[in-house]
Amino acid sequence: MTCAEFAPLLDEYIDGGLPPEVARTVEDHLSGCDRCRAEVAGLRSVVADARALPRSVLPGRELWTGIEPRLAAEPTRSAVARPLLIRVRPLLLFAAALFLLLAGATLATVYQRSRAPMTGFALEQRRYVQATADLARRLADDPGHLSPSTRAVVERNLAIVDQAIREAEAALATDPGNTELEQMVLARYAQRLDLLRRATEAGRQES
């Protein structure tokens, strides 16, 4: 192999990512090639400097004055309250409707407490909670009469969607601000809402 062929391997060699037999081949080449040895030494030096950079660097001016006026009255709380809504798995659709009604009332209180305008994901999240609470009220007012088989289908689908929501929320909790994950969470909220809407319609048709 030539130096040009070894070049693409040197980064992974430095990072310790090569299989042992390939690493040995690189080392054999390095032992007889001054140019590649110098390149490895130079690259190692750059990487070592990068790893030694200070973890903390203070900004040249005070940033807080530009932050404080932008803070809402309270941080987002819906994510703290939401597990009550999501994690309880109803035995029956009507039990779910009753629970959603109660949870919706609690979340509406949280919503009213938070006075400041919100944007982006948090706003969408709140809209979802509101829409779910509204639907729960409608279900409670006009529950319809679902057959046992339809109830079973609805319960099974709710369980699947709730599991998907939990997984997406867990991923977002470990990777906050990831817009793709936020979209995933919102899409699953919408899926849950759609499922409840269709269940409501089905109940009306069966009654």
Binding site: P8, D11, E12, E39, A41, G42, L43, S45, V46, V47, D49, A50, R51, A52, L53, P54, R55, S56, V57, L58, P59, G60, R61, L63, W64, G66, I67, E68, R70, L71, A72, A73, E74, P75, T76, R77, S78, A79, V80, M118, G120, A122, A170, L172, A173, T174, D175, P176, G177, N178, T179, E180
Partner: protein, 182 residues
């Protein structure tokens, strides 16, 4: 990172989650140096980094309710910082508005909170050289060699192929070696 059992949430974080501005100010003062360092290296210039850091803390405030203690607060904050900078950079308007600022490395790292093992001069040289890298190469270099992310994680964050991440790192390291005369 994602422990099976969530850690107890720090009292200051808990108070900030309840809407306590004083507690949030304490969190800001504790973490601003780390957040700014990440913003500065990803952005390549101080003015953009300052703006990113402010956006990050506003974002943190908005999302505090989602922090459940699955990881250390500093880990959660670090990931949010990286995501926020990358998200902002995906906005075409902001990126084009800052092209001229990114070309000026003179205002970098005005006040390091602690000196690296090799002394401030080495750190300054490398930081200035990093700011002259093409954006893609700088981003991957910062995430991989400074912040310690793996190629698969970087590929996911940047929505690129793992091979592209490796190619950008290859390019960044050689450009830096040349600029620094190593």
């Amino acid at each position: 990172m994602n422990d099976a059992n969530p850690r107890p949430v720090n009292e200051t974080v808990r108070r900030a989650q309840q809407g306590d501005h004083t507690a949030f100010r304490t969190l800001y003062e504790t973490h601003v140096g780390r957040v700014y360092a990440v913003c500065l290296r990803l952005a390549g210039n101080a003015s953009e980094a300052e703006e990113h850091a402010q956006d990050v803390f506003v974002r943190v405030w908005e999302r505090l309710g989602t922090f459940r203690g699955d990881s250390a607060f500093s880990t959660w904050l670090h990931r949010l910082t990286v995501n926020e900078v990358l998200r902002a950079r995906r906005t075409a308007g902001r990126r084009t508005a800052r092209v001229t600022l990114a070309a000026d490395p003179a205002d970098l790292e005005s006040a390091p909170a602690s000196a690296p093992a090799d002394g401030p001069a080495v750190s300054e040289d490398l930081t200035q050289a990093m700011s002259r890298l093409p954006e893609g190469a700088r981003t991957v270099f910062v995430l991989h060699d400074v912040e310690g992310y793996q190629h698969d994680e970087i590929a996911s964050m940047l929505d690129i192929a793992e091979g592209t991440s490796k190619a950008q790192l290859f390019r960044a390291r050689r450009l830096l070696r040349e600029m620094l005369g190593r």
